[in-house]
Symmetry: C2
Subunit: 267 residues, 2 copies
């Protein structure tokens, strides 16, 4: 098993086992075709109430898939038998808001303290897979770059220490496919749902579409409309802004691969 083509056809449990053995340490893009991947946020229990409330109040940018008990390491609903401390290829650890290290295994932190609460958050990979199946183009995949993301002037609802404006990702959609793209993603509220804005970036405070605040610019072709979806960077920013004393996240692109198929997230 030496290339991504093979990983695409493997089961989530097989790939997680290889990640656990550190035989896979690269980004998970394209692995386990059809299965939902998720963003990871791990916070001490003392901050978990605020964060759970923040996600409850902002389900579009922060679609919670599963939250496990303090100290537990298994996403029992989305991936029975999984170990959140070893089954992602790369983690980032932050202390007081500063990145203090990247790890391929964060077991030692769960051994040092028993108050860590793990949050699995839905990811746009899932709806992009649904768009592609309907032949709606996903430009940043075509161009092999990161999706362009923008800060907006749309405030999230605050919860305790967590606050901030929504971040959106943008995909240019051909005129005749905009309704299709809306209908497909609206049916998947557990992975960000319908677009926040269609065609008028200035209406949500985006001044220069050619210069995204995160990720890479992509080509908008003649006859295409920029469409903006709530983005998972929103909760990540809210967490970083609060400078939590301790926090673990996935490293960008190094996601948790669940046993749940993307199509199941419609129900």
């Amino acid at each position: 098993m030496s290339n991504e083509m093979n990983y695409a056809k493997m089961s989530p449990a097989e790939v997680r086992a290889l990640i656990r053995k550190q035989e896979i340490t690269c980004p998970t893009t394209g692995m386990c075709d059809g299965y939902a991947q998720g963003n990871l946020v791990i916070l001490p229990k003392a901050l978990a109430w605020d964060f759970l409330l923040y996600c409850q109040r902002n389900p579009r940018p922060c679609p919670l898939l599963e939250v496990i008990d303090a100290g537990s390491r298994e996403f029992a609903e989305f991936a029975p038998g999984s170990d959140v401390a070893t089954d992602l290829p790369k983690y980032r650890v932050y202390e007081h808001g500063e990145l203090t290290g990247e790890y391929t295994d964060v077991s030692k932190f769960f051994e040092q303290r028993d108050d860590l609460v793990s949050f699995l958050i839905g990811c746009s990979f899932s709806f992009e897979s649904a768009l592609l199946e309907a032949d709606v183009p996903v430009r940043q995949i075509e161009e092999g770059v990161n999706v362009p993301m923008y800060d907006t002037n749309v405030p999230c609802r605050s919860a305790g220490v967590f606050h901030g404006n929504m971040v959106v990702s943008m995909r240019p959609i051909p005129y005749r496919q905009v309704s299709t793209a809306v209908a497909i993603t609206a049916a998947m509220p557990r992975v960000h749902g319908a677009p926040l804005q269609i065609g008028f970036p200035e209406a949500i405070g985006i001044k220069d579409i050619a210069h995204p605040d995160y990720g890479d610019p992509v080509t908008i072709k003649e006859g295409e409309v920029p469409v903006f979806w709530p983005c998972g960077v929103t909760p990540q920013n809210a967490v970083m802004r609060s400078k939590p004393d301790f926090c673990i996240t996935h490293a960008p692109g190094h996601m948790f691969i669940s046993d749940i198929k993307n199509v199941s997230l419609k129900y």
Copy 2:
């Protein structure tokens, strides 16, 4: 304003004002046509994490509409200007799992302690209104009784002190309208969503459909199928079973009337 017909056409803010003045102390059924009503659970902060997690893990029986900060009394998203301590016509207070009183105003409890967290939970009134609009019959309304509800053998996911099996409500649906009823309610996940079971009560552990565990029996006519939806009694039972030191709920049928229309809960 002396009868329910008038209340049906009034705005939620108008009705809440009358409730606040204790000019309305009766059940809210039929009031403010088209607007979502919700169940209320108020718990001390010490239990709120477990309960929020329980709802997050069991969104079908426990569809959270809004959760407000400890000590706050306003459902700012669902009803700006509302006061959760005065705007329901009747409350029940439980101490250590025992009903210790019914009240038309619970302000004094918010004055005595600052740690009360209020949860607004979606209610089947909302999807029943959508069913009726599509000419799908709602039997218990026709017969003027409470909806029949049953204990099942379907376990909820536990969270801390909260656990138990799902409770379902039953509506008999004519054969030719079952798909319509499923499609309509599946599109409203914030108010219980699609049925849990269609036509085979024994498959979820219901032995005697003529004798519901809660509410009243209703007539199942020739050519009708019993259809079972996740029910809001589920979280209520989980709370009572845990015997919380302190808890406030709405009195049965005396709900919180929000400013959000039922149809908006589809999005």
